[in-house]
């Protein structure tokens, strides 16, 4: 905007207060994680990294981190493969014919995960997928598809369909067109979708509460138990590590977008 109209004092004050409300509670975790005390509090006599050491040497925490990571990677592969192909198909076929599929794709974003979780709890029993790595990967992978469809569709919206027609006209097969013409142009959208699908799985708790119990014990599940049972500074250390990891992923996403734009 050209600077001739700015918000008034009330509007600006409320905006600043809201920004503080959004950001400060998250920032407060950092000093709490660095406390020298044995309970959740601000540092009193100095800062200490003991709680980070506790987490990073605990087989339970490391085991859960590793499990969450492998599940998220596998689920992301599933979401990205199915989601990318679906977005390309929907883009090329007429809008009206794929209306049902587009609506279907929005459902996992709208329907609360508690409803899906109780459904899976019942559905996975006879299939032998309860408390299994594969079961959680399927649940997270399927619900991650919409994120990929959205980002890839956004990338495809700026892609000239005549390029694809030209490639086909010159005799390229469908798979050749996909590999050499379409995929390279929408790669940034696919990476973006992958990052969101990864975060979706990495943070997911509600489904895991229902379909996993002992063998599969992901990081969010361990944090959940920690919050409900023993609130100690190690939890704050985990929270800080998680925040740093999320920021890293978001920065990667931004960098990718900027590179594809510039």
């Amino acid at each position: 905007m050209d600077g001739t109209y700015r918000p008034g004092t009330v509007g600006r004050g409320l905006a600043w207060a809201t920004a503080a409300y959004l950001v400060l509670p998250i920032l407060i975790i950092l000093p709490v994680a660095l406390t020298d005390q044995r309970y959740l509090s601000l540092p009193e006599d100095g800062i200490s990294f003991q709680h980070f050491r506790t987490v990073l040497t605990s087989p339970e925490w490391l085991g859960s981190i590793w499990q969450s990571f492998t599940i998220a990677v596998a689920a992301t592969v599933l979401s990205v493969t199915a989601g990318t192909l679906c977005a390309i198909g929907c883009w090329r076929i007429s809008r009206r014919a794929t209306e049902l599929i587009r609506v279907l794709m929005l459902l996992p974003l709208i329907i609360p995960s508690i409803v899906y979780a109780i459904g899976l709890y019942r559905y996975f029993g006879p299939l032998g997928l309860l408390d299994r790595f594969l079961g959680v990967v399927i649940a997270h992978g399927v619900t991650g598809i919409p994120y990929v469809v959205i980002t890839v569709s956004t990338a495809l919206a700026t892609f000239d369909p005549r390029l694809e027609q030209a490639a086909r006209g010159m005799g390229a097969s469908l798979s050749q067109t996909l590999r050499w013409v379409i995929l390279p142009r929408i790669a940034p959208g696919i990476f973006s979708g992958a990052i969101f699908a990864f975060i979706h799985s990495w943070d997911e708790l509600v489904m895991v509460l229902f379909i996993a119990s002992r063998d599969v014990f992901t990081l969010p599940r361990r944090i959940w138990d920690g919050i409900n049972e023993n609130l100690d500074p190690a939890m704050a250390a985990v929270a800080v590590l998680l925040i740093l990891f999320t920021l890293l992923l978001l920065m990667a996403d931004r960098a990718l977008r900027r590179r594809s734009e510039g």
Partner: protein, 281 residues
């Protein structure tokens, strides 16, 4: 743009994996479990009758609706202030404002609930600070009640409120505001008679989005409610995991889905869902 012949079939095949996965592992489990609401413990609408006869069921529904309504109003108010500031900010300041909205959006909901517990519990940072300053003699009950739930939920929902409102405010021509000022309108009149009406579609879209997300919200209310204030999602989980009352739990799950779909259908003329999620992704 319709593909013809063999090529057309090829494009359809691309859609197939996602379609089959969603059908087999998303739609099927949900439909199957919702069907239990009319078969367990006996076939019929007995579970749905409980909405009218059971005080406990009614209490949960009313609590949920009350918390969701308060959350929606507060999230809209705070989100509007932020979206307004972003729209009118200089390009450089705009980046920072957007960051303040997007970073919380992507940080784990568990981490955020944990932060609120750290701050608000009895020996939490807020109570300790106030007691040390001598402003209160007894810790305030800030969490494990409805207040705590609302603080945490609004914190989660504000970014979802900002995005649709921002999208609609960006379409407002800034010259209109300058023109209104030039014609002698006060700052408040410009806001009330020009900016606010033009941003109304965004407010409605944001309200619908926040309300439907709040209805089925599980994690934050479960942590910050401390098991005392129950909302539907936690109540459903309680029925199924602890009380093994599948019929009642799935009845409430069905009601939840119906409430969300009806809300969307009512507002579908005003709200383009795909655009909201497109902006959010």
């Amino acid at each position: 743009m319709t593909g013809t012949g063999r090529a057309g079939v090829g494009w359809w095949l691309l859609i197939l994996p996602a379609f089959a996965l969603l059908l087999a592992f998303y739609i099927a489990p949900i439909v199957q479990v919702l069907a239990i609401s009319v078969t367990d413990p006996e076939p019929g609408l007995g579970n749905y009758e409980r909405i009218f006869t059971s005080g406990a069921v009614q209490r949960v529904i009313l609590t949920t609706l009350r918390i969701c309504a308060i959350t929606t109003v507060l999230a809209l108010l705070l989100g509007y202030a932020i979206a307004y500031a972003i729209t009118l900010a200089s390009p450089r300041a705009r980046g920072w404002w957007v960051l303040a909205v997007l970073v919380p959006l992507w940080i784990s909901v568990l981490v955020r609930a944990f932060a609120w517990v750290t701050l608000l519990r009895r020996q939490g940072l807020v109570n300790n600070t106030l007691m040390n300053a001598g402003m209160i003699s007894e810790p305030l009950p800030l969490v494990w009640n409805e207040f705590g739930i609302i603080v945490g939920m609004v914190h989660y929902m504000v970014p979802f409120a900002v995005l649709p409102m921002l999208a609609s405010m960006r379409e407002i021509d800034p010259r209109l505001l300058a023109a209104a000022r030039g014609l002698g309108a006060t700052r408040f009149e410009v806001f009330r008679r020009v900016f606010l009406p033009l941003s109304m579609p965004g407010i409605i879209a944001a309200g619908v989005l926040v309300f439907i997300f709040s209805l089925g919200f599980y994690i934050t209310p479960a942590i910050l409610g401390g098991g005392k204030t129950l909302m539907v999602a936690e109540w459903i989980s309680l029925q199924i995991l602890d009380l093994i009352r599948w019929g009642l739990g799935t009845m409430m799950a069905t009601m939840l889905v119906v409430a969300i779909l009806v809300t969307l259908a009512v507002f579908s003329r005003v709200v383009d869902l795909r655009r909201i999620f497109g902006a959010g992704g």
